[in-house]
């Protein structure tokens, strides 16, 4: 990879590689094998700080007739509460709304760093963060199911679908696989891959433009096209960002709903 980039252009590394996602750490400055304080972790902390500051400030003195900021905060919560939690889980979903909203906002803002100019790197393009969230969702829905049904009844409920007995040997492994093995991976990988691919696309089109213009001046118009496409892809990324945050939240709600459901 490093070799290729040297072949293509003197100072522009192209094509981008996985290593582009692992920037040198900030503290200690420039270290390559220290991950405690990097651009990525910094962004996560900034996300958390922004959300906490915004919500606390907006809801410091809640009023019956909301101020503008209070209204925005309430709209976000109301959206997740009514359109995700209550819609998916039913009236019992209200008690999951706070967690789902936190989850949604955390993913959305972390994703959003992917298209913020001069930042353009989403923490969720490192699988560690989606993985943590997926594990929380996984533990949560199993815990909720066990709390609701009792340990054995929950697993019986989750693993044994109402089907003729001779199909069960086939169905039970499928249910086990899809409910308890694939779910956390699919959750984590879906979010991570989207963010990873988004960042990769932006890198390809941005760096590609530089690579072409430095390889041959006649390719300048193509470079401009490439950069224009970067802007277009940023718009697309915005869509993906919102969609993936929503999908992660909805799937978590749906798993909880499945764990709480009394019938298949």
């Amino acid at each position: 990879m490093t070799g290729q980039s040297i072949v293509l252009a003197a100072d522009v590394p192209f094509p981008p590689s996985v290593e582009d996602f692992y920037l040198p750490s900030i503290l200690p400055w420039g270290a390559h094998d220290n991950y405690w304080f990097t651009k990525i972790t910094l962004l996560v902390w900034v996300t958390v700080a922004l959300l906490i500051v915004f919500f606390l400030a907006a809801y410091r003195k809640p009023q019956l007739v909301p101020t503008k900021r209070q209204w925005i905060a309430e709209s976000v919560y109301g959206f997740v509460r009514n359109n995700v939690a209550v819609d998916m889980i039913g009236p019992a979903g209200v008690r999951f709304a706070p967690y789902l909203t936190t989850l949604f906002m955390f993913i959305l803002l972390n994703n959003f760093w992917g298209i913020v100019p001069f930042v353009q790197m989403s923490p969720n393009s490192h699988i560690a963060f989606p993985a943590v969230l997926a594990v929380i969702s996984y533990v949560m829905f199993i815990y909720v199911g066990i709390r609701h049904h009792g340990f054995f009844k929950y697993f019986k409920h989750a693993l044994i679908p109402p089907a003729p007995w001779f199909i069960l040997p086939l169905l039970i492994p499928i249910e086990l696989f899809s409910n308890f093995i694939v779910r956390p991976f699919s959750l984590a990988v879906r979010l991570f891959a989207n963010m990873f691919a988004g960042h990769m696309l932006l890198l390809v089109f941005t760096l590609g433009g530089f690579a072409m213009i430095s390889a041959n001046a006649w390719l300048a118009p193509v470079s401009v096209l490439s950069w224009a496409l970067t802007i277009a892809l940023t718009m697309l990324e915005f869509l993906v960002i919102c969609l993936q945050a929503y999908v992660f939240t909805v799937l978590t709600a749906s798993y909880v709903q499945g764990a709480l459901a009394d019938e298949h």
């Binding site: 490093t2 070799g3 996985v18 290593e19 996602f21 692992y22 390559h32 094998d33 991950y35 405690w36 990525i40 972790t41 996560v44 902390w45 996300t47 958390v48 959300l51 906490i52 919500f55 606390l56 809801y59 809640p62 009023q63 019956l64 909301p66 905060a73 309430e74 919560y77 109301g78 209200v94 709304a97 706070p98 967690y99 909203t101 936190t102 906002m105 955390f106 923490p123 490192h126 699988i127 560690a128 963060f129 993985a131 943590v132 969230l133 929380i136 990988v189 991570f192 990873f196």
Partner: protein, 178 residues
Amino acid sequence: MIEVILAEGAEHSPIIPVWQEMVVGTVAFAVLCFVLMKFVFPQMEKTFKARVDAIEGGIKRAETAQAEANQLLEQYKAQLAEARTEAARIRDEARADAEGIRQDVLAKAREESDRIIAAGNEQLTAQREAIVRELRSEVGTLAVDLASKIVGEALADEARTRGTVERFIADLDTAGQR
């Protein structure tokens, strides 16, 4: 190539999570969850509830006020109707009273006039009788005087004289009665 990679640090695999990042992610997300779920969203639920209460309370208040207004309206209507019948009753009574008074006055007037007429008649009769009595004695005397003067002599036959006078007076009576 391998030396270059080693010099830059270990080669990364995108699907192997970095454990330090997992720790950071867990802690950061836990902090966020703690703050938002403890201090913000319960407050929001409370506000939502308060808002619903306020709206429902407002509706209830409005309904109560409406009911009260309706009741008052009914009451006023009833009072108005009552007042109308009362007025009509009073008017009728007054009319009846007036009629009664008129009849009374008329009756009294009639009685008075009857009484006056009767008194007048009585007086007239009495006067007439007195006059008749007076006349009767005077006419007798006068007639006897006149007859004595005409005859010049006391009448020989007193009985005859008396009969003549009586007859005369009777004639006078009939003439007076006529």
